[in-house]
Amino acid sequence: MTQSPPRTPLLEAEDLHTWFELRRFGFVRIGHVRAVDGVDFALYPGESAAFVGESGCGKSTLARTLLGLHPPTRGQVRIEGHPLPPRMGRKARLEHCARIGFVQQDPYGALPPFMSIRQILSEPLRIHGTTSRNERFARIDKALTEVNLRPAADFLPKFPHMLSGGQQQRVVIARALLLAPALLIADEPVSMLDASVRVEVLRLLRSVQRERQLSLAFITHDLSTVRHFADRIFVMYAGKIVESAPVDALLDTPHHPYTRALIDAIADVDADNALSERAIPAGEPPSLVHPPTGCRFHPRCPEFMAGICDVQVPTMQPVAHQHAAACHLYDKPKEP
């Protein structure tokens, strides 16, 4: 990517916050879950960005906020430079969502249970005005074949519960691609697929993204394949982006201690793995209700500097070309 990125990003988030009210007994407000807590980023047309981060760090909430499914508590989402209204009516939201493809995290909840796969995949085509039945069927056939559900005829009359987890996930992807969006937000789209099928589906997404100049924002846990399918990575921790870089730079020279821990935790296959426990940073994932002061990673950080990390909130600092990290290790010295 990035010879000279076009000026207007397709999708932008500025100082984005999404908090959930936490209540006891349904009415006593006892605090907020700060699921997204100050996120800034930009995604350019034809760019593919991966979001990675601990379970519960707010990735899905960020995706849903970008889609307009959660109103932001503060900050703004812009599509092609136009701000999303903070509170959208149902109609505005549907229109907005129709322009953005979405693959939601849990395929089991994503497909309507009483529709056959053929019906499910016909819907987006009908919305787009493909009136000829034959043309619809031909495109559905192609879409299923592309996500490796072959022979397509086996799957067409089935209902979602008759498909395995990974098969459902692929139907969700096929549906999103049939809508031919300019932007696709995919929340762990391939988490249930084995390596071989995963690579094929990611290749498909990559080629569609390049052919149609589609922008792709996908959430993933799979750092071992991400290198080949994304241009840029954003690493999230406790509601914030803590590192952002082109994919090779991030994987080869991670700067944030959390990113380093994440990359170190990746196991290559080895029968000896079973003989010992894997070393991981001590401590629990942080509470999003009472996040740690200063740097949110400080209670688990091997580089922890007392008096700094637990006091000051680090901001994103450039550490290399197009590479930034929010960690006090990279603060500019005060006296030059």
């Binding site: 995290q105 086996d154 762990e188 994987l251 196991a267 029968a271 426990e277 894997r278 991981i280």
Partner: protein
């Protein structure tokens, strides 16, 4: 690998287990003649491509069957007892959850969002074992400690928990009755690598401290190597190789196992990971010969016949390449 003297009777012995589904176009043979044995305190990993029948195998063992079953047969001996003749009533009262429990695929998303987790985890004890509420909640507290959940999580609702915490909750639910066998269906595929490692550490510790066996279903070869004593590889409804973990990971035998191991992505590899060419056969119209023949780089004339399972040095392999010399 666990060092189990050969004399120990297996905890679970499965012979020729089949589960076929009725569909409009015919029978889908999701589990088709599966046999294996599991020793006490052994962890067997079941690997295989999406749709090859892994969850169906789990369902067949626990008898959690959908309505459109066309055919369900075979023998399942568990703790010295033949389970197949048991009626549903008996099976529920004495086997499912009591002695054999399961973490279902994506179960962490299926927790009831408006019921406190301690009530949900206590459910198997309250409903299946008919324990009093106090006794059950005390046991839930213990189990939370076992899976590494802080006691204050007991009072929370699932939506207030992170993915990793919810996954520990469903794990606690499967462990709360202290069964000797737990089946885990993709317990870490929705988690980040750090949380995955934490969950695998919990499983390792429990296995070390207790006399418990696991069947771990996954598509993630790297994670599976964290706990596997043995690996069973499924392809199109059948087990095509079952080997000690070390052999499987470092010298797989079946041609599919070899391609699978070669396709495992590694973080530091510069080239894009490769996919295994081709697709598995339709479970509705299986080929007459070897089910992998279509994609197999090593196929030869004999592969037009269905290969039986051959025994080779502690492994079983369903491939003609392993037919003993001079056999017909």
């Amino acid at each position: 690998m666990s060092i189990v003297p050969a004399a120990t009777p297996p905890l679970l012995q499965v012979s020729d287990l089949s589960l076929h589904y009725q569909t409009r176009q015919g029978e889908a043979r999701a589990v088709d003649g599966v046999s294996f044995a599991l020793q006490p305190n052994e962890a067997m990993v079941v690997l295989g491509e999406s749709g090859c029948g892994k969850s169906s195998l789990a369902r067949a063992l626990l008898r959690l069957l959908p309505r459109n079953v066309a055919h369900y047969s075979g023998a399942v001996h568990f703790e010295g007892r033949d389970l197949m003749p048991l009626g549903e009533e008996d099976f529920r009262a004495t086997v499912r959850w009591q002695r054999m429990s399961m973490v279902m695929q994506a179960a962490m998303n299926a927790l009831n969002p408006v019921v406190r987790v301690r009530e949900q985890v206590a459910e198997p004890l309250r409903i299946h074992s008919k324990w009093s509420r106090e006794k059950a909640l005390a046991r839930v507290g213990e189990t939370f400690g076992l899976v590494g959940l802080a006691p204050d999580v007991l009072d929370r609702y699932p939506f207030e928990l992170s993915g990793g915490m919810r996954q520990r909750v469903v794990l606690a639910m499967a462990l709360v009755t202290a069964p000797p066998l737990v089946i885990l269906d993709e317990p870490t595929s929705a988690l980040d690598v750090l949380t995955q490692a934490a969950i695998m550490n919990v499983l390792k510790r429990i296995k070390r401290e207790q006399d418990i066996s696991f069947i771990l279903i996954t598509h993630d070869v790297a994670t599976s190597s964290e706990i596997a004593d043995r690996v069973a590889l499924m392809y199109a409804g059948q087990i095509v190789e079952c080997s000690p973990a070390r052999d499987f990971f470092h010298a797989p035998r079946h041609p599919y196992a070899q391609l699978l191991m070669a396709s495992v992505p590694r973080l530091r590899q510069p080239e894009a990971p490769g996919a295994i060419p081709g697709t598995p056969p339709s479970l509705l119209a299986l080929p007459a010969g070897c089910r992998f023949a279509d994609r197999c780089p090593q196929r030869f004339a004999r592969c037009d016949q269905p290969p039986p399972t051959f025994h080779v040095d502690g492994s079983t392999v369903r491939c003609w390449r392993f037919a003993p010399e001079g056999a017909p």
